[in-house]
């Protein structure tokens, strides 16, 4: 409504004036309808005759009085009117003032509102900006951190790798050395073993051959492989035909030969025993 009023001040003024006119008409014409006189209720007029001059004089006086009254009245009325007008002006003014004030207030308020809003917007924006910035900062920082960490990791890893490689190289070098040493030791052991073997194999062979009774009727060309397990001291604890000759008697003679030859002659050096723990005997008569 304020909006409408503010936009059409002239119309408002006309409306107010019209209201005032109507009000005045109401005041002065309140009882403009003819009043019926009720007989009997009023005393009848008493006619009196008065000299005309006098009358005149009276009349004039009366009129003068009347005029004065009327003037007074007019003056009073004017006064009232003035006062009223002043009042109205005042009022209007006040009203205008108020309106203006209201308007101003409103304006101020709107302005304040706007300002506030702007402020808020600004703040919000600033906040968002700040947040965004913070976010970005954080991100950037995190990224930097990550990069740094990655870098460090990479470095650490590279370092570890290097160390590992170095260790592995050292280990393999060591292993190679050990292997070489082991090989040397083994070669020495082998050499010892070989000499023990070359020394003892004929004894073992001889003892087995002395105990092998070749079955008389066996066909020629038979051969039998037997795996013999020994315990220290040379005692045969197991003899198992690994590859049969196909002739049960031949196989049995081989088994018996090995069992009869027990204990087999072994080197006294206990360390040599491992070479004699299991012996394959290939029984293969040469004729």
């Amino acid at each position: 409504m304020w909006q409408a009023l503010r936009e059409n001040p002239r119309a408002v003024i006309y409306a107010v004036l019209m209201h005032l006119v109507l009000l005045l008409l109401l005041v002065f014409s309140l009882d403009w309808t003819p009043k019926a006189i009720k007989p009997g209720t009023h005393k009848p007029i008493q006619a009196q005759l008065v000299d005309s001059s006098k009358l005149q004089a009276i009349e004039e006086k009366k009129q003068a009085e009347q005029r004065r009254i009327e003037d007074d009245k007019r003056m009073a009325e004017a006064e009232v009117e003035r006062k009223k007008k002043a009042e109205q002006d005042k009022q209007r003014k006040a009203e205008a003032e108020r309106k203006k004030k209201v308007e101003q207030d409103k304006k101020r308020k709107v302005e304040a509102e706007r300002k506030k809003k702007a402020e808020q917007d600004k703040q919000r924006k600033a906040e968002a900006e700040r947040k965004k910035k913070a976010e970005q900062d954080k991100k950037r920082k995190a990224e930097a951190e990550r990069k740094k960490k990655a870098e460090q990791d990479k470095k650490r890893k590279a370092e570890a790798e290097r160390k590992k490689k170095a260790a592995a190289e050292a280990a393999s070098r060591k292993a190679a050395e050990q292997a070489l040493q082991a090989q040397l030791a083994e070669e020495q052991a082998q050499a010892r073993a070989e000499s023990a073997l070359s020394q003892y194999i004929p004894f073992i062979q001889d003892k087995i051959q002395r105990n092998w009774l070749r079955p008389a009727g066996s066909p020629k060309g038979l051969s039998c492989l037997i795996l013999v397990k020994l315990i220290p001291g040379g005692e045969v604890v197991d003899a198992k035909v690994v590859r049969s000759s196909g002739d049960p008697l031949f196989d049995r003679s081989v088994e018996t030969a090995v069992l009869k030859a027990s204990p087999l002659p072994l080197p006294e050096d206990a360390a040599m025993f491992k070479y004699f723990r299991e012996i394959n005997f290939n029984f293969k008569p040469d004729n």
Binding site: A179, A182, E186, L213, K260, K274, P285
Partner: protein
């Protein structure tokens, strides 16, 4: 693969497995000998103080005679178990015998016995075989021979021939009053039974393939005649009485024919006669002496002695006749053949240097091997399993029965009664 890795692998293999990597020993020689065995005297449960027969001694002699075994002498027996629970293998390992035989004889009723035996593998500590036989007193020796056969077969893989018989001829007395006897005995020479006695020579006994009949030459009618006789019943039948020589009958493997020497056409030749109808088929035609025919085991050929080449040698001719093929070339005298049951060897009398010895010709290799060492060894005859040869040999001024293993390693004189023993023949397994 780098060298290092290879080296590591090599080393680790060696370390992990030194023995396997190292030792394989070749055994190319063994002893060509007899299997050591212990036969413990059998336990005895009966009324008498001792068993009627020494079963263990019979088995021991059988096994020894085969040449394939060497039985521990009684005094070397380290223990006398007669049941399996009593056997401690360690004892027998100490004396190095491969196998152990124990047993017992129980008298189940008057004259009835139960003979039980068990055979063990000493080094494996395992029972190999065993059995129980009920028998009467008369057959105790036979049971012993049967046990010998079971042991022999278990340990050599060949059928034993101890529970078989031999036939032979003896002659006794002075040249003016001589008695000829045809006998059948156990393979060890024991339990001889006379199946024929004659004042005139008896010659050339030959077993039928079922070991129930014997064919022989008898001069009881002053001339040579061929008879076949049932061993168990003694019933006999005259088969050949041709003019001249009727000699050297041998039974064909299927039992339906005899190969023989006849001189009815003027000269000794080899013939085949159908036993059922006497029909003859002449196999040889030569101006020389052809005699001593023997059948190959497949019945398709006959080996005989002939001097058609200037000296006595062995020849082979098809049983359907045809040209003969000379088999022996080694020495001046090879005669009196016997063919091994597998048909791969021929035993003969091999003469040379004034001596006559038993030799065996290996038909696969063509090699002749002299088995005996006598001055006058004659009439070789294979055992039915082919592992031994029985023959007659001069000892002092008489002849005795001897046996030799086919490889020549073991010779033994068989138990003998008085008189000269001639022409021993080993029976087939029989039926």
């Amino acid at each position: 693969m780098s060298r290092l890795v290879k080296l590591l692998l090599f080393v680790s293999v060696l370390i992990a497995n030194p023995a396997r990597a190292a030792l394989t020993i070749e055994i190319t020689q063994g002893i060509e000998g007899a299997l050591p065995i212990a036969v413990v005297p059998f336990g005895w449960q009966g009324k008498a103080a001792a068993a009627p027969e020494n079963i263990a001694a019979i088995i021991t002699a059988d096994l020894n005679r085969s040449g394939r075994f060497e039985a521990l002498q009684d005094r070397d027996l380290v223990a006398h178990p007669s049941t399996a629970e009593q056997v401690k293998f360690q004892n027998w390992r100490m004396v190095n015998v491969d196998n152990l035989v124990i047993g017992q004889i129980k008298e189940t009723s008057d004259g009835q016995y139960s003979v039980q035996f068990e055979l063990f593998d000493v080094f494996r500590g395992k029972r190999l075989t065993g059995s129980t036989f009920p028998t009467g007193a008369r057959d105790l020796r036979r049971v012993a021979h049967h046990i010998s056969d079971l042991i022999y077969e278990t340990l050599t893989g060949e059928r034993g021939a101890f529970n078989t018989q031999i036939a032979y001829v003896t002659s006794r007395g002075s040249s003016k009053n001589r008695t000829y006897t045809l006998l059948v005995a156990d393979s060890d020479g024991y339990s001889p039974q006379t199946i024929l006695t004659s004042k005139q020579p008896l010659m050339s006994p030959s077993w039928s393939p079922d070991a129930r009949q014997v064919a022989y030459v008898s001069f009881e009618n002053k001339t040579s005649e061929i008879y076949i006789q049932d061993v168990a019943t003694g019933s006999r039948r005259k088969l050949a009485t041709f003019k001249g020589i009727n000699g050297a009958p041998t039974w064909s493997p299927d039992g339906s024919k005899l190969a023989l020497t006849l001189s009815r056409d003027g000269n000794p030749e080899i013939y085949v006669m159908n036993i059922s109808d006497g029909a003859l088929k002449r196999l040889t035609t030569s101006a020389a002496i052809d005699t001593e025919p023997v059948w190959a085991p497949d019945g398709k050929s006959v080996v005989f002695t002939s001097d058609r080449g200037g000296s006595a040698q062995l020849y082979r001719v098809s049983a359907r006749g045809g040209p003969a093929q000379r088999l022996t070339f080694d020495g001046k005298y090879n005669a009196g053949a016997d063919i091994s049951p597998d048909g791969r060897k021929i035993a003969m009398v091999h003469g040379g240097g004034g001596r006559y010895r038993i030799a065996v010709l290996d038909l696969d290799s063509g090699l002749l091997r002299i088995l005996t060492d006598g001055q006058l060894d004659e009439s070789p005859s294979f055992s039915p399993n082919g592992s031994m040869i029985i023959y007659a040999t001069g000892a002092g001024n008489r002849e005795v029965l001897s046996a030799v293993s086919v490889d020549g390693r073991f010779k033994q004189r068989l138990s003998l009664q008085a008189g000269n023993v001639r022409e021993p023949v080993w029976s087939p397994f029989g039926k």
